[in-house]
Symmetry: C2
Subunit: 343 residues, 2 copies
């Protein structure tokens, strides 16, 4: 079974509206979820959606409150997400950062008490669409041990950067861990070994056994440099924004717990520095130079390829996910089969 992109968006919107979420917020969650599936980050797509419904039922995702702006200047704001959908909080945070950037050249908005927001790059993309540079950071449940350490106290701490150009989609969206936790879970399920240089066991020794790695920790990407970046992101998305940090972060991987992580959104308006046309032309010139240097890629190329493919072919709904979504739809008198396409 599979679902086409427009149907996925319609399905998620309908489910959330029937559960009582406002239309505009339902659409934000639907778009963010679809964005993950289109880009091929399926661990953050519709496959995760049933967990959101579970979190609503447990009261860990709040569909009635509004965000509170707790602190604000012309260029920054601190938002209390009041337990809303992470996508809704993050969308509003980035939109606010963009509005501030349009006014003063740069805007930065921090959020706390928001739930998991899906893929980080969805929010830097919002900046690109308004001719601004977007930078997004978040912390997550602990997954990495500090360099030389044994106990995971740092999240997989993603960072996304998006830059507007005339034609090219320029976007970086990456965890600061060398591997996603999902990769270890998958290897365990399949009874496969993992490479020897991505994770440590509980004693801090490299391991190829995914079970031991899951009890231990994942390594940062790029050794001490990636570790340093993950470390800084933990502080910028924890103490700076009144969110949890280190071992106190929870609820990003397990929806049965209240989500305590934090996020940080920066928008920069190039037109306050230089003529925007010149900025975009120069950027495309750099891209032409990069492409002519050999068989290379620009950050964002792989996502564009995935989007084209998945928009054409649709998104796979496996048997397990089919059962979960059908149950959700049955409860809400939604005819799930209407949304699906036979393979």
């Amino acid at each position: 079974m599979k679902i086409m992109a427009n149907k996925e968006k319609a399905l998620i919107t309908e489910i959330l509206m029937k559960l009582g979420l406002k239309k505009e917020n339902s659409e934000i969650v639907a778009e963010a979820t679809l964005d993950a599936d289109l880009k091929g980050f399926t661990s953050h797509g519709i496959g995760r959606f049933p967990q959101y419904i579970n979190a609503i039922k447990r009261g860990n995702i709040n569909i009635e409150e509004k965000i509170d702006i707790e602190r604000e200047t012309d260029s920054i704001a601190l938002i209390n997400g009041n337990g809303l959908f992470g996508q809704v909080v993050a969308y509003n945070a980035m939109k606010l950062a963009i509005a501030k950037a349009k006014k003063t050249g740069i805007g930065a908005v921090g959020t706390h008490d928001a739930n998991h927001f899906g893929v980080t790059g969805f929010y830097s993309d919002l900046a690109i669409k308004e001719d601004t540079i977007g930078i997004v950071m978040a912390n997550t449940d602990p997954a990495m041990a500090p360099l030389g350490g044994k106990i995971p106290v740092i999240g997989t701490n993603p960072i996304a950067i998006g830059i507007p150009a005339n034609e090219t989609y320029i976007a970086l969206d990456m965890a600061t861990s060398i591997s996603a936790r999902g990769r270890l879970l998958e290897a365990k399920r399949k009874g496969e070994e993992i490479p020897g240089d991505i994770a440590l066991d509980i004693d801090g020794n490299p391991t190829t056994d995914p079970s031991k790695a899951l009890e231990g920790s994942i390594l940062p990407f790029g050794g001490h440099k990636g570790y340093g970046l993950a470390f800084m992101i933990e502080l910028i998305t924890g103490p700076l924004v009144s969110a949890a940090f280190g071992s106190k972060v929870e609820g990003t991987a397990n929806y049965e717990k209240k989500c305590t992580k934090g996020d940080f959104f920066i928008a920069i308006d190039p037109s306050k520095f230089v003529a925007i046309e010149k900025f975009k032309e120069d950027t495309e010139e750099f891209i032409r130079e990069v492409r002519s240097s050999g068989d290379t890629i620009v950050p964002g190329d792989l996502e564009v390829k995935e989007i084209v493919k998945n928009e054409k072919n649709g998104i796979i709904i496996d048997e397990n996910l089919h059962v979960q979504l059908k149950e959700i739809c049955d409860d809400l008198n939604i005819n799930f089969e209407d949304y699906l396409t036979k393979e």
Copy 2:
């Protein structure tokens, strides 16, 4: 021969003042140069100073002009460095970013037409000293080929991040290349091989021969993720700030050319988001958790260790450097030997 820290600062200040640079600017260059030596980044310390003098003589470093602020809002500015010492331009840029952050919560200042500024972390340290978070980026002469490419069109593009805390020095200062160009030059000089995973020859193949690597390119740190970061920094410190980018960047490694790179300085004032005491306490709490996770380090630990050692022992002046500095001093009627300490 060696020179003690206070003497190095006094020597550089005296030389520059005798050459006509204002006292306050001479002291900035001296402090930034000493900072590199104290932290152990000797390639950016007094060993590079004779090249600065050379650049002044050639007119590539301008000691008479002032910086121009070309664009400005409450939160951002664009500075034309008018060919001044990079240290002077960068110092003023970061100070301006900090002042803006104190007002609106975040400040960002870009610079173009400035010379090489020494170590990136010197400027994020300025932010720390004023209880703000500092982020500094720069592009450099091309050194890295894009991932899969053969021709170097991306600089070693450093990024530095500094975060204020109660006791701990928290600072990251790193190139986005896996190795400094200086490491290749040193291996060539010594007739040594380099590791097989840090550089490519002119055909894009991995090489252990430093001569072939110097004709080719250095790899980014951390594979495609480090490449993505280097790529984004190139655009933020090139097109965004009216500076050169890609193959047009020159003068950062070779002082016989006018320096065309750009820099970007961000300061964030945590007190606009949360109580500054709480921010610093939380930050120290995270550091305690990191330190208790095993035999680990916090970004900045290695620099602190180096500073203590080098302040005590002084900075080595090798024979070649001794000759160069003596010649500079003789020309200006400065008694070089007075500044030195016998080993």
